[in-house]
Amino acid sequence: MEPFENVKSIVTPLDKVNVDTDQIIPKQFLKLVQKSGFGKFLFFNWRYDENENMKSDFILNDPKYDGSKILVTGDNFGCGSSREHAVWALDDYGFSVIISSSFADIFFSNCFKNGILPISLESKIIEKLLQETNAIEVDLENQIIKTSSEDISFEINSHKKKILLEGLDDIAQTFQYKDKISEFEEKSTVPSVL
């Protein structure tokens, strides 16, 4: 995983609550066996009509937001299915920061495995950010979002911050504890399946 770098970009305001992972990446695209190339299917049913023509009223189809790296959205983003394809699609499309008032647990965890920073902020700040038309800067090291008018600080678990900033490979980290895992297995009482 690449280390997370500060992001400066305009925000894409997706003013909806309870956006589920079925909307982020519909099921017909879960059949692929690789991790790449999901960006073109992001929010597919909201972006395209039944003839696969772009729907002009959906925010991602507004050229104003081309190249935006920051998605701002409402409560409980990423609820529903555990599909990591949702994060792969957001990442491949170009988003590296998602700002919301709250996230569903599995989606939140999946973000960190893919170098995406999910930031939780109070609803009233989200409402302001949904209106922001100038570029904003997200500084993970200092935990600050700089807008044209103010600096907004955000919380992040120090362990998760380190993972993003260093782009750590989770499994390699865990392998440092192989002895501990073996020790646990020796005293484990749960029998194997087979």
Binding site: V17, D20, K31, S158, D170
Partner: protein
């Protein structure tokens, strides 16, 4: 101070504990399916890693599989590739696979308990959010993403932040347990706590209303914990749990001594406290029907659809969500649920496709016919459920009533296989999610219990099953 059941399971699985960081938790059972695993196996290959404990890992294909004649080739080439990929991965990494022709094939959350792979007090993960189903046996069962699937394959562990505890206490007795089911209890809970009400928590379902339930019914409850936003849901094991798992194909040989140890330990201490609590009284609850596009948008069968104002309780965002939902569902507030006509009926999914679900639904339709213009199907949760149902003659009851009787799989719960709604079609579904397009682009899903779905199939619209003679 006492500990909750969840805390006991958690603490007994800590491999590495660090201050202010996640714990490294040991995983006893890893269930794998075709959709969320290919990229994880690729990751292992790229890094030259192997599966640490193939003996704690099992796989099956469920999401993609056609539910029509299994002797025919799979026409959807991308599905066929994904299924073949799982076969190859299991072969390469030495994992036990219940393949499409196995008598043990089925939805991963249905086969785990049926085979005795799910065990009380264990930690279970699967790359699927409905893994919470296994919590019905007093296991800590978590849905995970593909990166975590890879992590578990490689290390048999996961770094996890300890969730908070949430007591959902279900009190009272249902007046008509054939009409008001486990599905209605869990939909009532979600309606009350909201779809994010359980975020960051593990729910323990407790109380008379839970201990009264059979294992099949407890699985329905735990299955939808994720629809209330919870990380997992569980029920303390009791005699019903221990009896259910006895003598199954993969039940451990030393089962009775395990049961003895579980009896003493796997319960919440009387002086333990929870971070959060919700109490539901089920004495008077009604069958539930969802009207919107998330499982919290649900009301009683004898109620009108609420107005967005009433539903949102003053929250502007929720109100907007309810307005969008009604528009998508082509419904108006004030319409009585029983006046809603349906086009399709789906009895299936990891929520409601176990034997008891099919028995209860068959009682409703026996000797009757599906309403004209309605297409109804039953997709048993596993090949074993299908076989047991056929031995009881349930297949004939469904087929005589003009239901389609299918092979096992996830099917129209998420429509990754050919079983999907057409745009605009309205479905009474026993599944777990009524999200936009979930069962097919433009399709409209109403979540209900198996008996409510069966009654709707016969009448062509929703019916309050309490009015039927079900005893």
């Amino acid at each position: 101070m006492g500990k909750t059941l969840f805390e006991k399971i958690w603490e007994s699985h800590i491999v590495v504990e660090k201050q202010n960081e996640p714990d490294l938790i040991y995983i006893d059972r890893h269930l794998v399916h075709e959709v969320t695993s290919p990229q994880a196996f690729d990751g292992l290959r790229m890094n030259n890693r192997k599966v640490r404990r193939p003996d704690l890992t099992i796989a099956t294909m469920d999401h993609n599989v056609p539910t029509s004649d299994r002797s025919l080739p799979i026409l959807d080439q991308t599905s066929a590739v994904q299924i073949k990929t799982l076969e190859n991965n299991c072969k390469d990494f030495g994992i036990k696979l219940f393949d499409i022709n196995s008598p043990n094939q089925g939805i991963v959350h249905v086969i785990g308990p049926q085979l005795g792979i799910t065990l009380p007090g264990s930690t279970i993960v699967c790359g699927d959010s409905h893994t919470s189903t296994h919590g019905a046996f007093g296991a800590l069962a978590l849905g995970i993403g593909t990166s975590e699937v890879e992590h578990v394959l490689a290390s048999q562990t996961l770094w996890l932040e300890k969730p908070k505890t949430f007591e959902v206490r279900v009190e009272g007795k249902r007046k008509n347990p054939h009409a008001v089911t486990a599905k209605d209890i869990i939909l009532s809970i979600i309606k009350n706590i909201g779809t994010a009400g359980g975020t960051g928590t593990v729910i323990e379902y407790r109380g008379e209303g839970i201990s009264d339930l059979s294992m099949d019914q407890r699985m329905t409850i735990c299955n939808m914990s994720i629809e209330g936003g919870a990380r997992a849901g569980l029920v303390a094991p009791d005699q019903k749990t221990f009896d259910y798992l006895r003598g199954r194909e993969y039940t451990p040989k030393n089962y009775e001594s395990l049961v003895d140890s579980w009896k003493d330990t796997l319960k919440t201490d009387s002086d333990a406290t929870f971070d959060k609590q919700f109490i539901l009284d089920i004495n008077d609850i009604a069958p539930q029907v969802s009207w919107g596009t998330n499982p919290g948008m649900t009301c009683d069968v004898d109620e009108p659809i609420p107005s967005p104002d009433k539903f949102s309780n003053g929250d502007a965002n929720q109100k907007k969500g309810a307005e969008k939902a009604l528009e998508y569902m082509a419904l108006e507030s004030g319409t009585m649920i029983e006046d809603i006509k349906i086009d399709r009926v789906f009895i299936g999914s990891c929520t409601n496709a176990r034997l008891e679900d099919l028995i209860e639904a068959s009682k409703i339709i026996q000797g009757q016919k599906v309403a004209s213009g309605v297409n109804a199907m039953v997709v048993p949760g596993s090949q074993m459920v299908k076989k047991q149902a056929e031995e009881m003659g349930l297949d004939k009851i469904f087929i005589d009533a003009n239901f389609e009787w299918r092979e096992a799989g996830c099917s129209m719960c998420l429509g990754m296989n050919p079983d999907i709604l057409s745009p605009g079609e309205r479905c009474a579904s026993t599944s777990n999610r009524n999200f936009e397009g979930r069962q097919g682009n433009g399709g409209r899903t109403h979540l209900v219990s198996p008996v409510m779905a069966a009654a709707a199939a016969i009448s062509g619209h929703f019916v309050d099953v309490r009015k039927l003679d079900l005893n």
